[in-house]
């Protein structure tokens, strides 16, 4: 009896010691994370309940900042714009990426495939700021896009795309397509190489064309990879900042203003810190609300 007790205390002592040492391993990471992520996160929520210019005293306003965001068209408009960007940054690259990847998968093997992989991945490694600057020039009045349009006889529709109230947002979207399409294609192609080639072989022996193969094999079996592409690109769209800041800074007017840009402008040029924080909280909530179902759907049943 006495022996058993002492053994148990010794055991629990060892477990406790191990837990203690283990927590020491986590401590540095946890400390950094707490100070520079968790505390700022809580402070963002706290600030969002005040009216504050960043310098003077802050006034408690409760949820009024959130009400303001819903009432002011320029503020709620940033969230509408963010969803439009999802179409360009996410739906088009993933949809087009799937089609292109499945075509490439059937025909491109060997050298051309390898070179294409590298080339298509290029926009993914350069800073988004550079992508914004490059496309700012391409979409300018004398830029390459208008030059091509004129060459094919569409000179009538040329314009300064990023300065046009109706076209600026799709133009920014085009930059997103350029950055993300290659990434989606390469990721989906990698997924396709994991699919048992016998499946494709037998489909082809049965005389299945590209479309049958696409609908019956590629899309269902790539559910997980499609989910990954959607997650990455949707976050890129909702949290967009670099490309928009450099190419349009939210303009003309508020035509391309997205939450990231508006948070920056409100907090650091208009000194409306409380309002900026309320928008930040909404942005963070929005990302979670949109991403969770995608994750859930793509993991459900896949692998």
């Amino acid at each position: 009896m006495a022996l058993a007790v002492s053994q148990q205390t010794r055991l629990s002592k060892r477990v406790r010691r191990e837990t203690f040492v283990g927590w020491l391993f986590v401590l540095p990471a946890l400390l950094m994370y707490a100070v520079f992520v968790l505390v700022p996160l809580l402070l963002t929520i706290l600030y969002s309940l005040y009216r504050w210019d960043g310098v003077g005293p802050a006034t408690w306003v409760g949820l009024k900042n959130y009400v303001t965001i819903f009432e002011v068209p320029d503020l709620i408009g940033t969230i509408v714009n963010a969803f439009w960007l999802v179409v360009f940054f996410s739906f088009i690259p993933v949809g087009l990426g799937l089609v292109v990847a499945s075509v490439i998968h059937r025909v491109a093997t060997g050298r051309l495939g390898a070179i294409a992989r590298t080339v298509l991945f290029l926009p993914q490694v350069i800073p988004l700021v550079a992508a914004g600057i490059i496309w700012g020039w391409l979409l300018a009045l004398p830029g390459l896009i208008n030059q091509i349009l004129k060459a094919v006889g569409l000179g009538a529709i040329t314009r300064a795309w990023l300065g046009d109230f109706d076209w600026a947002l799709p133009a920014v979207g085009l930059v997103g397509i350029w950055v993300l399409l290659g990434f989606c294609i390469v990721l989906l192609l990698t997924g396709m190489t994991k699919v048992d080639p016998a499946l494709y072989e037998s489909a082809r022996i049965d005389g299945a064309g590209w479309f049958r193969e696409f609908v019956a094999i590629t899309v269902p079996l790539l559910r997980y990879e499609i989910g990954v592409c959607l997650t990455v690109t949707v976050i890129a769209a909702l949290a967009a900042f670099d490309i928009v800041y450099v190419s349009t800074a939210g303009g003309p007017g508020n035509a391309t203003s997205v939450p990231g840009i508006q948070i920056y402008v409100l907090a650091f040029t208009q000194r409306a810190v409380g309002l900026a924080c309320a928008l930040a909280v909404m942005l963070m909530a929005l990302v979670v609300i949109v991403i969770l179902p995608i994750q859930w759907l793509s993991r459900e049943g896949a692998r």
């Binding site: 540095p28 990471a29 059937r106 020039w137 390469v186 650091f268």
Partner: protein, 274 residues
């Protein structure tokens, strides 16, 4: 492969068109960069008299050597520290499975979807209070913290799949937890650590928002942040802006071409696991 000839060529054509779509923008800014400074050329036009001197001028006005030093310093400060502390945390959560590991994992994973712009405002005021605003530390410290969700998630995924026999055998031989970590599991984790290092180096080099908000002096910023400042000054001088952009891209492109296989693999794995 049973693929019709026409389809073969259609597929290759599509692939080449996509490659052209990716490459043409680079060619356009390269040609533009060779036009006389201050002029407005058209998008794709080889200049009659190429101004190679634009690159030298951009090199000087952008203070390239200072930018390279600054970016390299920031990468060298962020990446090793992030690697060490996230590997340690991933080891404790995934392999030691310490009491409270699920809670810790949830706490970190929760940060995976967090947009940087969501928490940048308090970070700004915090750094003003700490007196590190407008120094490189202002970028380094939050960046390490912001990488923790992904880095720990990544390292834990490796450690959680390690067979327990290895650790048990070492324990029998009297190894301490630190020995187990440093002499046995870190050497076994070399591949995921290397990939993580590549990813974080690229992300740091390209980090813009933190540089923009927290550091005013371009020579204390990351490469992307400095490029943003350069654009602010020379937005109207298109050839010079293009020349500067190319110069700032060169280090990235060289590294990408040298390590393309590792970088592509790391980026793909990174998104699949994250």
């Amino acid at each position: 492969m049973r693929v019709a000839r026409g389809e073969l060529w259609a597929g290759r054509g599509l692939l080449l068109a996509l490659m052209a779509f990716t490459i043409l923008p680079f060619i356009s800014i390269f040609m533009t960069a060779l036009h006389p400074s201050g002029t407005v050329p058209s998008g794709l036009e080889w200049p009659t008299n190429p101004q190679w001197g634009n690159f030298i001028e951009a090199f000087n006005v952008a203070e390239m050597p200072a930018l390279l030093v600054s970016s390299t310093f920031i990468v060298l400060a962020v990446v090793p520290v992030s690697l060490v502390i996230s590997t340690m945390a991933g080891f404790a959560i995934g392999l030691l499975r310490i009491l409270g590991a699920p809670v810790l994992l949830f706490l970190f994973v929760f940060g995976l979807t967090l947009p940087f712009s969501g928490i940048i405002i308090p970070i700004y005021f915090l750094e003003r209070a700490l007196g590190i605003y407008n120094t490189r530390l202002a970028i380094v410290l939050p960046l390490i913290a912001l990488y923790m969700p992904f880095a720990i998630f990544w390292m834990r995924a490796h450690f959680v799949n390690m067979p327990t026999e290895i650790s048990e055998a070492a324990r029998v031989d009297g190894a301490t937890t630190w020995d187990l970590f440093w002499h046995i599991h870190v050497p076994l984790a070399r591949a995921p650590i290397a990939s993580l290092g590549i990813l974080m180096s690229i992300w740091t080099w390209n980090q813009f928002l933190l540089a923009l908000v927290l550091v005013e002096d371009p020579t204390q910023r990351t490469m992307a942040g400095a490029l943003g400042a350069f654009q602010g000054h020379y937005a109207t001088d298109v050839p010079l802006l293009c020349a500067g952009t190319i110069l700032i891209l060169v280090p990235t492109l060289v590294v990408f071409i040298l390590f393309q296989r590792q970088i592509i693999t790391a980026l793909l794995q990174g998104s699949v696991k994250g």
